[in-house]
C-alpha cells in the first residue's frame, strides 16, 4: 500500500551536498502501525516528509496506493494530501482562532462537503478521542494531551490511507504519552488506518506493530 523504491535524498548548501537518505526501499501494508525509529540526524523525519509529499526526493519513487506521488505537482499533491494523507505534529499545530470542532473540520473545509456533514463527522471523531465535551473550546483552553487528541481527530477526518505522525508524544508527559499511544492503537485497530510514527524513543516504538530503524540514512 505504501511503497518506497530506491529513495535517496541530499541536502545542498553553497559548498557541499549532504546525502541524508541512501537507497531506501520500504513496503508498508494497509492497516499496519509502523514506527520509524532513529536517533537525531538519522534521516527519519526527512523520510517522513518525503513520504508525505512535503519534499521532492533527489531520486527514487514513492507509491501510496498505485500513485507515484513524486510525479505530482504542488496542487495535485495538495489534493492528494487532502484526500489520502493525515498528519499529526509534535506541537499539535491547531489554529488558535478556530474552536476544537472547527479545527477537526478544517481538512474538510478544503473539500466541498456540506458544513452539517463535516460537523457531524468531526463530533463523532471527537467522541472517539474522548473530547465530546470540549468541542466549542479554543485550543488555548486545552491541555497538551487534549490538543494532541484534537490533532489526531483532525488527521482522521478525511479517512486517509495513511497517517504520518512526527514525534506525536514528544511534548507530552509519560502518562499523557501512554494515553495518546493507546488512542492511536485503538484507532488503528478500529479503523484499519495505516499509521507511520516517527520517534526517537525505543519505548514508544516498541508499542507499534513494526519497527523500521534508520541509522545515518540507511535502513537497518
Amino acid at each position: 500500500m505504501l511503497r518506497v523504491e530506491q529513495l535517496s535524498h541530499s541536502f545542498h548548501n553553497a559548498s557541499e551536498s549532504v546525502k541524508v537518505l541512501h537507497d531506501i526501499n520500504l513496503f508498508i501494508e494497509k492497516g499496519e502501525m509502523v514506527a520509524l525509529l532513529g536517533s537525531s540526524g538519522s534521516g527519519k523525519s526527512t523520510l517522513l516528509n518525503l513520504m508525505a509529499g512535503f519534499m521532492k526526493p533527489s531520486s527514487g519513487r514513492i507509491f501510496i496506493g498505485d500513485k507515484d506521488i513524486v510525479l505530482l505537482n504542488e496542487n495535485r499533491l495538495a489534493e492528494y494530501r487532502r484526500k489520502h494523507i493525515g498528519f499529526i505534529f509534535q506541537s499539535y499545530e491547531l489554529i488558535p482562532s478556530l474552536t476544537v470542532v472547527e479545527n477537526v473540520e478544517l481538512p474538510l473545509v478544503f473539500h466541498t462537503l456540506s458544513p452539517s456533514k463535516r460537523k457531524k463527522k468531526a463530533l463523532s471523531l471527537l467522541e472517539q478521542v474522548g473530547l465530546s465535551d470540549k468541542t466549542d473550546l479554543f485550543p488555548s483552553q486545552l491541555s497538551g494531551g487534549q490538543q494532541q487528541r484534537v490533532s489526531i481527530a483532525r488527521s482522521l477526518i478525511s479517512e486517509p490511507y495513511v497517517i504520518f505522525a512526527d514525534e506525536p508524544t514528544g511534548n507530552l508527559d509519560t502518562r499523557t504519552e501512554e494515553e495518546i499511544l493507546s488512542i492511536l492503537q485503538r484507532l488503528n485497530a478500529e479503523l484499519d488506518t495505516t499509521f507511520v510514527i516517527v520517534t526517537h524513543e525505543a519505548e514508544v516504538a516498541e508499542q507499534m506493530g513494526r519497527i523500521i530503524t534508520l541509522k545515518d540514512g540507511v535502513l537497518i
Binding site: R81, E93, I95, S97, L98, L106, V109, F110, P115
Partner: protein
Amino acid sequence: MRIFDLLKMSWGQIIRRKIVTLLCMIGLSVGCAAIIMAISISTSAQDYSQQQLNNEYKMDEITIQPNSIGGSGQQASQNGKGFDRGALTMQKLDVIKRLAHVKAVFPTLRLGNVEMIGTDGRISNVEVIGTDLSALPEFGFRFAQGGASTVLGAVVANYGATFGMIDAQVMKNLFEKLEKEPYNDELFLEYDQLNKEPADLFQKQVNFRTGNAATGTSPSTYKVSTPLRISGQLKVKSGSSEEYAIYEKTIYVSMDTARMLQSQLGLGQSGSLVKFDSVTVRVDDKKYVPQVEEQVKKLFLTTQSNLYQEEMIKQKFDQYRKIALGIGTFILMLASLSIFVAMTMSTHQRRRQIGVMKILGANLWQIRQLFMTEAAVLGLMGGATGLLVSTLILWGANNAIAKGLLTIGPQSIEIPPLALLAGVIFALITGVVSGIYPAISASRTNALEVIKNG
C-alpha cells in the same frame, strides 16, 4: 472552498486583529466617503447649474433666423422681389409649427422705433414688434394687467413701455438744456427720473407717430397711426432685472395690426410682412432640440439653441468631478497601502497557520482565496463605513444649508445611488487589489520550513 467558510474564516481573522482592522477601515472609509461626497456634491452642483441655465437661457428654445448665405441675395431679401431661399417666410413658419415636438412658436417682426403718444399728449419712444400675441405666455411673458386681444389695433406693452411717458414740451426743453450743458449731471438725473416715471396705460388709447417735426423752412413729415388700445401690460420677464427692464420699451402688435401700421406709417421693409426677422420655437423637451434644429435647417434657415451652454457646464463639472474622484482615489490608494501592510504583516504572523493549512491539503488557490476574501471583507467594511460617514456629513451639510449657515449654490446635496455604489465598489476593489500580493505571498509559504522553524 465554500463562500460561507471563506467568509467565516476571514471574519475570524478580522475580529482577532482589531487594531489592524480599525486602521485599514479608517483609510478605506475616508477614501470611500471622499468619492461619494465628490460625486454627490458635483452632481448636485451640476443639477443646480442646469436648473439655473434652464431659467436663464431657456434650454428648450431654439432661435431661428433667415439664412443669408446661399440665398438669392440680400437685395432680394430687402426689396421683397424675387426668390429668397433663406427667408423666414409665413409658409416656413407654418411648416415649423407642424414639426414634431414643437410646442409653440413666437415669430418676431421688427417694425422699428416710433413715438408713442398718450391721450394726455405725453410721449415715449418704443420699438414695435409684430408677433403672434397669443404665444406671449408660452414664452415666459406674464401679464401684469389684461391680456392679448385679437381685435385690430389692440396692442400689448412690455414692462419698460409703461415708464417714461414724458410731456413733449418738457422733453424738448430738457434736450435743449442738455445740448447747452452736456456734462450737467443734474440734467441727466432729471432725464433719468422722467424715464422712470410710471404711466398707467392699461386700456388707454395711444397713437404711434413717425417722421420729423417742422423745422425752419421744412414742413412736418409726421405720420400718425389710427388710435391703438393697450389691451395688456406685461411684467418684467423672469431672469431680467427691473432696473434694466425700464429702459427696454417694446409694444407687441398682432400681425394684422402690423400690416395696418405698415400701410399707415410705412413701418418695416417692403414685403417684410411675409418675412420674419426671427422665430423662437419651444420644443416639448430639450432632448428634442437637436432633432428640431435639424428639421429647421432643412428649410434653409439658421438655428441657435443654448444646448452648448449645457455642454460647457457639463464639461466644467466633469472636470471638477474628475479632480474630486482623483483625490478620493488617491486617498483610497493610501488606504490600500494600509491594507497591503496589514495583510503582509498578517501573512508573516500567520505563516505557521498557512503552513498547517497547506499540509492539511489547502492548495495555492485556496490559500489565496482566504487572504483575498479577508481583504475584500475589509474593503467592504471600509466601504460601508464610508457610506455611513458620507451620509452623515452630507446630512449635516444639508442641515447647515437649510439653516443658512452654508451657501454653496444648490439648496440641498442629494446622494445619487450611483455614488453610493461607486464608493463601495471602489473600496471593495481597493481591498481586493491590495490583498493580491499578500495572498500570493501567503500561498508561496513553505509549509515544512515554517512548521520546522516556526
